[in-house]
């Protein structure tokens, strides 16, 4: 079954149209990347799927159910998002425990203590971090908390908005390994935005290259590794990607 299908998606910010006629389909259990330069509309697509960007036309179908613009509670349990900047995505006055308990409180899930412990363990956070404030954590630890927050509702689809680009190189590798392991262990589907092609070849099965709000090419990660992308813009992207061996 397809986890996510997007057809003819046009997203507007006010008067200006940001994406044009986006079509893509992500299979369940697949890891799919959206790549492209800044301003190409990749993050906007994620925001529309999640429900933060509300003015769009076309159709978004997740697990067989059509999405309407805006956030809905039922969908929140199936799909969560991890933001780019772990310094901005955690409430500065809330402890890790409070941040992780909040989704459980929203959805009226009772077994607070254990589930927080369990999710912290699965993202590799030691128990002693549980009652710390974000300013007492490093960037990588913060991003682990953000991932734990997204996972605590046990969603099937995870939207990842450049989850490593705000981190140090060594920490990036840790988080990428974590994401890879979590996907394998929990059978997650990823839709990931990035401009780092090395991340794509490490973590993703397929990718779509976006430019000026359009998808110019959909290819498999194998094609990327072989340098066998067809569209001239995609080839250019590979050529100017410093971190990619091709």
């Amino acid at each position: 079954m397809s986890a996510l299908t997007i057809e003819n998606l046009d997203i507007c910010y006010g008067e200006s149209k940001v994406t044009h006629d986006i079509n893509l389909s992500v299979a369940e259990g697949e890891s799919f990347a959206l790549v492209g330069e800044s301003g190409s509309g990749k993050t906007t697509v994620l925001r529309a799927i999640a429900g933060i960007a509300t003015s769009w036309t076309g159709s978004i179908t997740a697990f067989g159910q059509a999405r309407s613009p805006g956030i809905d509670r039922g969908f929140a349990r199936q799909c969560q998002m991890v933001f780019q900047d772990p310094y901005g995505s955690l409430h500065p006055r809330k402890t890790v425990d409070a941040t992780l308990s909040e989704p459980l409180a929203i959805h009226g899930i009772a077994d607070n203590g254990e589930r927080v412990d369990e999710v912290m363990q699965s993202v590799g956070l030691d128990r002693r971090f549980r009652f710390r404030f974000p300013h007492q954590l490093s960037g990588g630890q913060r991003q682990r908390v953000a991932i734990a927050r997204a996972l605590i509702l046990r969603p099937k689809l995870l939207l990842l908005d450049e989850p490593t680009s705000a981190l140090d190189v060594s920490v990036q590798a840790e988080i990428l390994n974590l994401l890879k392991r979590l996907r394998r262990e929990q059978g997650l589907t990823y839709l990931m935005v990035t401009h780092n092609l090395a991340v794509v070849s490490f973590l993703c099965d397929r990718l779509a290259v976006m430019r000026h709000g359009r998808i110019v090419e959909v290819a498999s990660a194998d094609q990327l590794k072989r340098g066998a992308l067809e569209d001239p813009y995609s080839r250019e992207l590979i050529q100017f990607s410093p971190s990619h061996p091709a």
Binding site: M81, H91, R93, T95, I106, F131, L153
Partner: protein
């Protein structure tokens, strides 16, 4: 002692309570390193103690008249002299602390939450909700505080309760503006998006995630405004629209002493000192709190 301190400063607290107390402890330590803030805190503490223990601190009754002893200069018997009805000014100033403290607390309790909630709602929803609420706020804000309070007291009738209500009505718009500005900066941050994505209701987002971040600037603002509130209350008392005789309200006392200011200076000066010192105390404390609580000072909190 050392173990309590270690427990409070533990880098890995083991419970919510410990995390919260630890944060409080760090804040109060930062506040104590600021001498002016400590002076302010001591003055405010003195005000609170004077109000609580007025009957034990005062040497005479604040309202019993003794015409044989009228207009006596400061002496060992009457520390701040006596007024035109022979009442001990020191005792009246001490009892006046009760009235001042009551005014300040009630205004803060009435005005700050109203302003906070209105500002947060306006900032969070935006659009026409924002326009309507801020329109109302601007109408109130466009009139000088004392004049607005005067108009309300004139309409409601003189008296201390009405003065408090009037001052509260004149004060909330400022808080609403601040809360709205704070909310606008928080509104689009990713941690708010994140809880929204989890399906949180607007009520939950505002109460649990936005208001806690507005509250520190609100505490600072309210503390700094206390001086203004005291002055407004004293102003109303001076004109005769605040506390009514024989209540020992500082503004009203200055007003009574006005006629003797050339020959019996202490009658107006002593309550004047009280107003100046207490206002100054609140200003110092507010400044200190700003240094400690201001989010722009980054990770020190």
């Amino acid at each position: 002692m050392a173990t309590t301190r270690d427990w409070l400063l533990d880098d890995s607290p083991s419970s919510r309570l410990q995390a919260r107390l630890g944060r409080g402890y760090r804040l109060s330590r930062a506040l104590m390193r600021n001498p002016l803030a400590m002076v302010g805190a001591l003055i405010v503490l003195a005000l609170i103690l004077a109000a609580l223990f007025a009957p034990w601190i005062a040497t005479h009754s604040p309202i019993t008249q003794d015409l044989a002893m009228r207009l006596k200069p400061p002496s060992a018997e009457y520390w701040m002299g006596t007024d035109e009805l022979g009442r001990d000014i020191w005792s009246r100033v001490v009892y006046g602390a009760r009235i001042t403290l009551m005014i300040v607390m009630l205004v803060a309790v009435l005005a700050a939450p109203v302003g906070l909630v209105i500002g947060a709602i306006a900032g969070y929803y935006g659009g026409w909700v924002d326009r309507i609420l801020m329109g109302i706020t601007d109408i109130f804000l466009s009139m000088p505080k004392l004049i607005l309070a005067l108009a309300f007291v004139a309409a409601l009738g003189p008296g201390i309760q009405n003065a408090i209500i009037a001052i509260a009505i004149a004060t909330w718009p400022g808080y609403a503006r601040i809360a709205r500005a704070e909310t606008l900066t928080i509104r689009n941050s990713e941690f708010v998006s994140a809880v929204e994505l989890q399906g949180a209701s607007s009520f939950r987002v505002i109460v649990n995630h936005i208001l806690p971040l507005c509250s520190s600037s609100m505490i600072i603002r309210v503390t700094l405004d206390m001086a203004g509130i005291i002055l407004t209350a004293a102003g109303l008392g001076f004109i005769g629209l605040g506390a009514q005789p024989p209540l020992p309200e500082w503004g009203a006392m200055i007003s009574r002493g006005r006629s003797f200011i050339l020959n019996e200076w202490w009658v107006a000066t002593m309550p004047g000192f009280a107003i100046v010192i207490v206002s100054l105390g609140f200003c110092f404390l507010g400044d200190g709190l700003r240094d400690v609580l201001d989010p722009k000072h980054g990770d020190r909190q």
